[in-house]
């Protein structure tokens, strides 16, 4: 990665907060600077769908009061952030990238967003994405495609393409995305930023518009691993509003970064007391055919770098990996077909008019409100759940999910983290896969496994192709061991930048 121009000009959470705390700038000046950059850059990129200036200015006022009164500033004070438009925001239009929610103004806030604001962050607006987070290129947005800031003829990845592009283009210091099959990690890889999918249950899903509830996760995008750790620390932890959010203590992910690169002795706190080498697993199943040669070379070099930092590289096997995509697309679409049944034109969202009967109203509303990929997934999921096919498809896929999860359980008995490519290729061209759903699904081949198993995974930049396109190194960890995942990613990032 060219550590020069991109990383030095981009601001970090701490630099923004400290500049405000030490009166080198004001929260207002920071927000105005970011809105000015968005105005200049985003016409071409298309990351933002909606701006939340009123909300941003109210927050700026709060931070300003604290600063003027000399009160301590919260950890994200004045930090400009933006939110994928699948998380509801009270009083700020939330579309999920779909026409069916074009005019939807939610009456409540997503927990993760509320926690960011409580920590002082300033929400600039809502970010473009594939409709209902269904896609791997952000071309399924009902509004407009997003262009990759690193090469505007290419996709930013998806479904959180707006979240990745906004950080990469310096239009927000950090953003939130959602990841159901790779939708944080793959766009992070394509845009050359850091993207983290936490453990299932680590971050509340309250207020996340549901796609596939057992696979959906909220997580951060940032320019540095440390910033991703800061955001995770802010949004993680039990929330009474989400019964699947886990009652597991949240360690200080930021101080965990500075721990030595040794095996964690206490994964709950991330504390290192022993002197055992940290073991990095490498699974051959993630380096098979279909992996681009340049991506392979960059990821292998990154793994060598981890070895040179004192990690032990251990071959592991994840034998069911080749079944992950088919199992994922059955489980995810089955859950989606149930979750999206709520869009019926009655309580909120678009309604087709005029309709003679209730069932005609339902059908015409959904026909007119949903895009092709959403309909395709609803159809596939409905088919997989329908009488006569349930056992053959849905139940079968759930059993394969068990086997895939056991693969990771076995591997993590031998290693502390697993390193792999995030995506099989660098960013592809706009329009390249848009008419071939299966080819698009295969862009998620290295990421869906972590969703099925619920383990954490991060994508951190690890070089570029000859054409200058970013490549991502993916690091998986044990359930609730984000501390080790972040520590390894941070050590790699530091070594790669000083090289």
């Amino acid at each position: 990665m060219t550590a020069d121009s991109t990383t030095t000009k981009l601001k970090t959470i701490e630099s923004v907060r400290d500049d405000i705390a030490e009166r080198r700038t004001t929260a207002l000046a920071v927000v105005e600077e970011f809105y000015a950059r968005i105005k200049k850059e985003d016409a071409e990129i298309g990351a933002f769908l909606t701006f939340s200036e009123d909300r941003a200015m109210a927050q700026v006022e709060r931070i300003h009061r604290l600063a003027v009164d000399g009160k301590p500033l919260p950890p994200l004070a004045g930090v400009p952030v933006a939110i994928k438009d699948v998380m509801v925001t009270r009083g700020v239009r939330t579309t999920a990238g779909s026409k069916i929610l074009e005019h939807f103004v939610p009456p409540y806030d997503c927990t993760a967003v509320a926690r960011l604001e409580a920590a002082g962050a300033v929400v600039l607006g809502k970010l473009n994405c594939d409709e209902f987070a269904m896609g791997s290129s952000t071309e399924n947005s009902a509004y407009r495609p997003v262009r990759n800031p690193r090469d505007k003829t290419r996709v930013p990845g998806g479904s959180s393409g707006g979240s990745a592009a906004a950080v990469a283009a310096g239009m927000a210091v950090a953003t939130l995305g959602s990841d159901t099959g790779g939708s944080i990690r793959q766009p992070a890889s394509f845009c050359g930023v850091v993207g983290l999918k936490p453990t299932y249950g680590r971050v509340s899903r309250y207020g996340l518009i549901a796609f596939a509830s057992s696979l959906d996760h909220i997580g951060p995008f940032a320019n540095t691993v440390k910033d991703a750790a800061l955001v995770l620390r802010t949004i993680a932890g039990r929330d009474a509003m989400d019964a699947t959010s886990a009652e597991v203590p949240v360690p200080d992910y930021v101080s965990a970064l500075e721990q030595p690169l040794k095996a964690a002795t206490d994964t709950a706190s991330g504390r290192i007391t022993g002197n055992d080498k940290l073991r990095v697993g490498v699974a051959k199943e993630y380096f098979g055919s279909g992996l681009d040669a340049e991506v392979r070379a960059a990821v292998e070099a990154a793994i060598q770098k981890l070895a040179s930092l004192g990690c032990e590289i251990v071959p592991v096997s994840l034998p069911h990996t080749k079944f992950a995509i088919p199992a994922y697309y059955i489980v995810a679409t089955a859950e989606a077909s149930a979750n999206l049944a709520r869009y019926d034109g009655v309580r909120y969202g678009f309604r087709a008019r005029p309709a003679r009967t209730l069932s005609e109203m339902y059908r015409e509303t959904r026909d007119g409100g949903f895009g092709m990929e959403v309909k395709r997934r609803i159809m596939l999921g409905t088919y997989a759940l329908s009488a006569g096919y349930y056992d053959a498809y849905y139940l079968k896929a759930q059993k394969v999910r068990t086997l895939l999860t056991r693969d990771f359980d076995d591997a993590f008995k031998k290693v502390d983290v697993i390193a792999a490519p995030t995506a099989p290729t660098a960013a592809f061209k706009l329009g390249e896969k848009v008419d071939d759903p299966l080819a698009m699904y295969l862009a998620d081949i290295y990421t869906v496994t972590a969703n099925l198993a619920g383990i954490p995974g991060i994508s951190v930049p690890c070089g570029e192709t000859r054409e200058g396109l970013p490549i991502g190194l993916q690091i998986f960890g044990r359930h609730f061991d984000e501390a080790t995942v972040l520590r390894v990613a941070h050590a790699y990032e530091r070594a790669a930048q000083s090289a």
């Binding site: 009456p107 409540y108 299932y200 249950g201 509830s213 057992s214 039990r238 009474a240 019964a243 699947t244 009652e247 597991v248 079944f323 088919p326 199992a327 697309y329 059955i330 049944a341 019926d344 009655v346 309580r347 909120y348 969202g349 678009f350 309604r351 309709a355 009967t357 209730l358 069932s359 005609e360 109203m361 059908r363 015409e364 959904r366 026909d367 949903f370 092709m372 309909k375 395709r376 609803i378 159809m379 596939l380 409905t382 088919y383 329908s386 139940l395 079968k396 896929a397 759930q398 059993k399 394969v400 999910r401 068990t402 086997l403 999860t405 759903p437 699904y441 198993a453 619920g454 359930h479």
Partner: protein, 112 residues
């Protein structure tokens, strides 16, 4: 071809979708292509493998208990402040395409 035109029509009806003629043609092609790929799951023996519906039953569960007691960590008692008030009525109908101010309005369901 696993999926027929009739299947597409039937599943669309189950899913409350109408689909244009063109969309039905694409759907037939795409569903068959995806399901053909999914067929590879059948090459895997899953006898005696438990299905996995969600991740969260893998942790936080009190394995010594039965039924919903196992999921005590997710019980409502953890709402310390007690039951929350519901969304105010006006806010709840604010986003509805058609209301009479009190109820959601829909086309007539019963013909007389």
């Amino acid at each position: 071809m696993k999926v027929s035109e009739q299947d597409v029509a039937y599943v669309a009806e189950l899913a409350n979708l109408e689909l244009t003629a063109d969309e039905r043609v694409r759907m037939l092609r795409d569903l068959n292509s995806i399901l053909e790929y999914v067929e590879r799951l059948n090459g895997l023996d899953t006898t005696n493998v438990e299905p996995m519906a969600q991740v969260s039953d893998r942790y936080g569960v009190d394995v010594s208990r039965q039924g919903t007691e196992r999921f005590a960590y997710a019980s409502r008692e953890d709402i310390k402040e007690g039951l929350r008030p519901s969304l105010p009525h006006q806010e709840a109908i604010e986003n509805a395409p058609e209301t009479d101010g009190t109820f959601f309005e829909v086309p007539k369901v019963i013909e007389r």
